[in-house]
């Protein structure tokens, strides 16, 4: 394990590099992050799909369910709330969420430790 938890912001890429309603993978302090850009927000969650164990959530389809911004796992289509990381299809399943923001046209991510 090379995991290091930090509370600092890491610059990841230019905002223009993110396609609207699509995700990319990023490596932040050795952690695989899935980073999404919707019409008006940025979201960061773990890239690891907790159901399959594969690092693929960044490649899921972004959408909404009942007004909640979501991403669907590209492997077996479980849908996650991008704001909370909770799986909307499987109770009790969730992915870690992280902070993401845009400063001066640059996307920044800050890892979060959650209980």
């Amino acid at each position: 394990m090379t995991q290091t938890l930090t509370l600092t912001w890491t610059t990841v890429c230019l905002l223009d590099r993110l396609e609207p309603d699509r995700g990319v993978a990023a490596l932040v302090d050795g952690v695989q992050i899935a980073l999404f850009r919707t019409a008006d927000e940025l979201f960061a969650i773990d890239n690891r799909d907790p159901v399959s164990g594969a690092y693929v959530l960044s490649r899921g389809i972004v959408g909404s369910r009942g007004g909640v911004p979501t991403v669907a796992s590209p492997l077996h289509k479980q849908v996650y709330d991008l704001r909370s990381g909770h799986c909307l299809d499987l109770p009790g399943v969730a992915v870690a969420r992280h902070d993401a923001r845009c400063r001066n046209g640059l996307v920044e991510v800050r890892l979060r430790q959650e209980g």
């Binding site: 995991q3 890239n47 389809i61 369910r65 009942g66």
Partner: protein, 845 residues
Amino acid sequence: MSGGELVVIGNGMVGQRFVDALHARDPQGDWRVTVLAEEGRPAYDRVRLSAYFDGVSESELNLHTPHDGVRLRLGEPATAVDRDRQVVTTAVGEYRYDALVLATGSYAFVPPVAGTELPGVFVYRTLDDLAAIRAYARGRRVGAVIGGGLLGLEAANALRLLGLSTDVVEFAPRLMPVQVDQAGGAMLRRYVDELGVRTHLGVATTAIRPGPDGGVAALELSDGTALDTELVVVAAGIRPRDQLARDAGLPLGPRGGVLVDSTCRTADERIWAVGECAAVDGTCHGLVAPGYATAEVVADRLVGGAATFPGADTATKLKLLGVDVASFGDAHGTTEGCLDVTFTDPATRVYAKLVLSDDAHTLLGGVLVGDASAYPTLRASVGGPLPAAPLALLAPDGGGADAGALPAAAQVCSCNAVTRGDVDAAIADGCADVPALKACTRAGTSCGSCVPMLKQLLDAAGVAQSGALCEHFDVSRRELFEIVRVRGIRTFSRLVAEHGRGRGCDICKPVVASILASLGGGHVLDGEQASLQDTNDHFLANLQRDGSYSVVPRIPGGEITPEKLIVIGEVARDFQLYTKITGGQRIDLFGARVEQLPQIWRRLVDAGFESGHAYGKALRTVKSCVGETWCRYGVQDSVGLAVALELRYRGLRAPHKLKSAVSGCARECAEARSKDFGIIATETGWNLYVGGNGGFRPRHADLFATDLSTDALIRLIDRFLIYYIRTADRLQRTAGWIEAMDGGLDHLRSVIVDDSLGLCEDLDAAMARHVSSYSDEWRDVLDDPDRLRRYTSFVNAPDVPDPSITFTRERGQPVPARDQSPTGTEPTNGHRRQPVTLGLPEVRR
């Protein structure tokens, strides 16, 4: 009586139904059953006998299900019944019985005129009869049918299909005199005339004359004329086969048939009779539905039940020479004081008549010619109040006929005696769609004419499947397709803003992406379209369980040069890809990371490969056998056709994946009948099959058209595919699409062969656009830096490969390391990896 030795004489449709019905009620096998069959083959579907001439095989007509404890003696007809000793005799031996069921059926009535024994004179009753007709018709040009009833018109159509110019001779003044009235017969005749079948009504055949070779040469008619003909089919009616019963001293009906009471028992308490040989309370019934009813009655009685014959439903609906004809209830208006309501439209060539009670409130019967869509509801309403105003019911398409208005006792499926009450009960028990209702009640499993009514009953019960695609669109894929096509919408954001709500999801976005692609929306990764794609389409590769991708280059028809084969091998070796031959005659390369995909494809494209679209809901492969070029059995160049078809339809996006195959002869080595569209070579052209698939619910494709030229074949496939793409539901394969279609294969044929909806020109143009606008998706990606940009492992560390993708080796090749040590964070809620079922999507909602 509840067990012992049971002998069944006859293995026709009703005999088989009896055995099935008894087996269902007597699963312990208290009755040991012996079935004595005259024919050398087990029970087959005689109602669909004519389909044999459309190329439907013997095995498809088979109705026989083997049961434990049932002995079937084929080709061993009973010769005598000894009631004193309770023994049935055959040429082979004797069979003792505790109960005996006569299911001997009927024979074709041949009028007593000279010449019926001549070579070239046939009856139309068994598969052997049909095979003999086919053999004799070869090389002949003119045929005649004696009898213009239901069977006679079937036979006339058969002769047409065999390429004979055909005459029909009917003694009555109209065609189908039993089922339709004079005006209906006149309308039917207009259709028949148009097909080139010549009808001679109100005349009898007085003799059949031989020619110099001894074979049949002419029919002499009662009006003094003669018809030249080389082949004659006698279809002048049927008579019950009651000789065994007659010889055994059992009483017969007034017009023949084994006399039975309403329990279907003869005067001998150990002997029963079912089907066409039984004269129930004195009357024989020549239709399968009443026959099935007698089979159920006897099966019930033999296990101690108290069933009685419910009375015959003589309602008939059929398609004769492509014309819908239906007749039900008191079709001829024989009830005293009854009223007729008739509707004749010479333009659309539709005739309909309803027979009503003298107060015009109760439906007694009717006749429909040209459009029988109202039949299921009307037939089920006989004896009850009209479900709608008469004119609304008679309007073409039966606009006003709705099964929702039927009473519970109304029979929905007459073939299997299923009432609306039975269907409603099944729906209440959880049957939520037509296939479930079919499985649970047997309704719709025989002639299928009540299937539209089953849908209406689901609707009426409020469980009809919502057509809504997902929470973002209230319409179905088909309606969405029309909206996009007609309004010219080219972006998801405009579509969801104008016709939906929210931001979309993993259901509607790929659907819209597929629709846009089908309508020629440019490269699938251009602009906003890219964000709609499922991960496979987004990376133009197939996501595997470990997050890596597989690569499948197109190998049209499965034909590949040694040079190209070597390139695939070199690429696989250099990128350390696991290599496997697929079922579609191509090669799948596994274990590629996203950033490797462009490098792999650069090599493949340079060597002349194109995308195989294994990642898309699109045409996959057109498999082929080696064909006449090499194979000593082949009759056509199957590889050449497969290559041409694969190149024509490559890149075509559809509601689901599409597979095809071409076999060079009837041995069918390419397994074409398991494909969405399959082609099998004949001596003179190609047979086209549609709607097959392997997979979760395997289904053989149905024969759609025969002996096509290559041009005609391609035109039909073009239309079939575009019509499917435009009208199928999301993830509905061609099989389900055809099954769900009102009118099924016949409807499909009317749309893409007869152009009944006037769509063909448009369908042809759409395919022409696809063919001319095709370009290889992977080549287009390699040429475009913007599209290439997404093939990176990490946006901020493009040089670092995804560390979670690791391999071990198995049988000399790399495979995913199952026990990976992840380098990312463990899930913080303590959730661990758990087994998942691969290959099956989560079922939601």
